[in-house]
Symmetry: C2
Subunit: 289 residues, 2 copies
């Protein structure tokens, strides 16, 4: 049930992204953009769609904002994989964009995918009320820029030259920015589309985002490169502090479970209608990729 709903949403989102790129000029950078946005779990887009459903916004309306956050996520992966950042050759089991094309193309692909995200949100199809669309633009800019995702990436780079491993408080803040901000935006977008209070979904997503990152650190230790489709053990190899190095494997798992409980409790106002978001939270720490 959950898996099939996740797949249905992924199909909708991918179709919206491909539609947005359908008329783009026939250039390597356009082909690389389609390659970069194809596949993936679409967890962030799914959160938009399921959050919106709680407020009566149908999936074919929420799909525009869902596609926007997946475009930002894809841009961040393409740029992160570049040699001047993480220098990764493999993503979702496929060669990364700079490996399949080149660094210049990867740079432009990421740049244009970020732009595409704002284009998707500004499209009247996203929401008939321009006030809602500009609210989505403003909040996405905050979540992804120097006060959000990019700040987290900068903190991650700074940590490498700090000469000491990060503390638990520092790594929690770093991850709240680096991965948490986009996850939070995704869940909150549903309430924004429904012109409702974002607080309940915000609490849910804050706990979920941290659980997601702890699960990522656990996967980096326990994961299988064949299943995850990316390099594993890279944090341990790099001697970086992670939730696993700070809390131990069992401690990290216990913390992830506690955060999932916390995320589920934040959904109490919605009753059983939010069961799919509860399943999403459990999926986040049980996933193998």
């Amino acid at each position: 049930m959950f898996q099939s709903q996740l797949q249905d949403a992924a199909g909708l989102i991918e179709a919206r992204l491909m539609e947005a790129l359908a008329d783009a000029a026939d250039q390597p950078v356009t082909h690389a953009m389609r390659y970069a946005v194809a596949g993936g779990k679409r967890l962030r887009g799914f959160l938009v769609i399921e959050g919106a459903a709680l407020y009566g916004v149908p999936a074919d309306h929420a799909v525009h904002a869902a596609a926007a956050i997946e475009a930002v996520h894809a841009y961040s992966l393409v740029h992160d994989d570049m040699p001047c950042m993480d220098d990764d050759d493999l993503r979702r089991g496929q060669p990364t964009v700079h490996v399949k094309w080149d660094d210049g193309t990867a740079l432009l692909v990421g740049d244009a995918l970020q732009t595409l995200a704002f284009d998707l949100l500004a499209d009247p199809a996203c929401h008939p009320d321009p006030g809602v669309r500009i609210d989505l633009v403003a909040s996405l800019a905050r979540a992804s820029g120097i006060d959000g995702m990019v700040l987290g990436q900068a903190q991650d780079i700074a940590a490498e030259t700090a000469g000491r491993p990060l503390t638990l408080a520092e790594i929690t803040e770093l991850q709240a920015n680096k991965t948490g901000a986009l996850i939070r935006w995704s869940a909150e977008a549903g309430a924004r589309l429904g012109r409702a209070d974002i607080a309940p979904l915000s609490s849910y997503a804050t706990a979920l985002g941290l659980a997601f990152q702890i699960a990522d650190d656990i996967l980096d230790v326990e994961g299988d490169a064949e299943k995850t489709g990316k390099r594993v053990q890279k944090d341990a190899d790099a001697g970086k502090a992670t939730f696993v190095s700070l809390l131990g494997l069992d401690g990290a798992k216990a913390r992830a479970h506690a955060l999932v409980d916390e995320a589920c409790e934040a959904l109490a106002p919605f009753g059983a209608r939010a069961d799919i978001l509860r399943e999403t939270a459990r999926f986040v720490i049980a996933r193998e990729t």
Copy 2:
């Protein structure tokens, strides 16, 4: 008069950009963002402010959109200068961001400056009407993404491997995307802020944008690296087709003058109130940097 108005606008725009970055975390990437947005002629921002003035929008209102386009321009320069693109060490007479910091920082600086542009446009201070703000966001996304500036950059890269120099029609289209789209957006933004028809300013800016690029090609041949603050003769050294190689130096100058006349004619509906924009057009082909 013209120079002092350009400088006044530049001061307003720089102040708005620095204000936007005032509360950013103390990280190298934040310092590098401030460095990247400092200085420059602010021609694009000036077009926003002077275009808006034609519709009675005061400079302290138009400055937000002006700062946004300068943030996009700065992002494009930082990414363009990177080793995987043009590999330039010098910009406005100063070391480029990837030289002064490193490639990873330059990547994040460009990414966050693009985000900042949409943040500035989404801010209620930009315009009280959310419909105007979302119109600015949508049009900027079109101008800067895969249908605009990034397409022009992709066409520029493709030209290098085409095995033959570009034709005049091809280079005109390339430049209309690569540099023309942002210049057009800048002038049109004034009409958008005034909720007016963008057609007159659009015609003005289309001619101006092409004149600007022809002047750039002339500067690349005749310019002085000390005055321009960047490497000259780089297109000729690279054997790239330019307006000068296609039209000859005299032919390029004649074309630039004709385009300036065309730009000025498009301002006829505004009478003498548009004299400053006429001076701007003449400045664009007379500048030494």
